[in-house]
């Protein structure tokens, strides 16, 4: 497979994820804390339990990506 296609674009986006992730420390911590709180408490982890925190993290990542667009 040569030339630009969905896989090369997808891979490029993935490569940027670590640096974008580094810019969203507080949101990442909030999401991480929400999920790990279930390991200690009686509440069982289920789908979308921490969706609010995850959406905040994702929004942060997307806006960081827009800021540093080539």
């Amino acid at each position: 497979m040569s030339g630009a296609n969905v896989w090369t674009r997808s891979r490029e986006r993935m490569k940027r994820l670590p640096e974008l992730f580094a810019q969203c420390g507080p949101e990442a911590t909030a999401y991480g804390k929400c999920v790990t709180a279930t390991t200690a408490s009686k509440e069982e982890l289920r789908k979308d339990l921490c969706i609010r925190e995850f959406e905040a993290l994702k929004t942060c990542i997307l806006s960081a990506a827009k800021k540093t667009v080539k």
Binding site: M14, F21, A28, G32, K33, T36, K47, D48, F54, L57
Partner: protein, 272 residues
Amino acid sequence: MSAMVYGGVSQTGSPIGGAMNVFDRNMKRKQKQWAASLEDPDKYEYLKNEVGSRVADRVYDIARTFPLALDVGCGRSHIAEHLSKVGLLFLTDVSESTLIFHVLKPDGVFIGAMVGGETLYELRCSLQLAEIEREGGFSPHVSPYTAVTDLGNILGQVGFNMLTVDIDDIHIHYPGVFEVMSDLQAMGESNCAWNRKSMLHRDTILATAAIYKEMYGCDDGSVPATFEILFMIGWKPHESQAKPARRGSANISFGDLGKINQSPSMDKPKER
């Protein structure tokens, strides 16, 4: 003794002879070839180099020289670099423990190392939690590993004598889970179990990164990855080897251990 060993693997990548079919060996070969074709493969070989030198250490610990050795699954000859007391060294790409047993001469030794036990538990747990929260279920992404306790049984069943199994914990720090996964891929160590899921959603990867950092992150911002290396030594039986004594042949009791200092003329206790 010829060192041409052919693996017990059929064309489809599944083992013959009724062995448990956990891994897609054809896929593993493709992953290793891809990793070998990278621009800078040495950059990712740090773990194998370290384990290779520890295996070589164990070779040296044995007070014998060997005229002929076979390095099974040698990769980039991580072990051979450190060895000099071996006469001839053959390097191959095959690994089946019963095959190794048959290939050894009596009183030959098998020294091996593999990842096992708790290797990559941080990655496994973070992925599991992330998948549950994001997708509602989870599937295995890290291979099932041999437990230390099972290793002795496996080697014993094959027929090896005088087994020694010990564990080395290697903790490697990475900037984040992305680097852990990309390094594993570049080492050729991507998952190839038949039951692997073929996709990892971007959202799940993002969630994993956050959870990994929160659960295991260190003060300096890095995250650790554990590699539990199981080292094993087994000998092909030979009359010269020490055998366990016959049941009931003990003539000294453990209770007499306290008296050892008082009677230096006593022989070594012949207890089992």
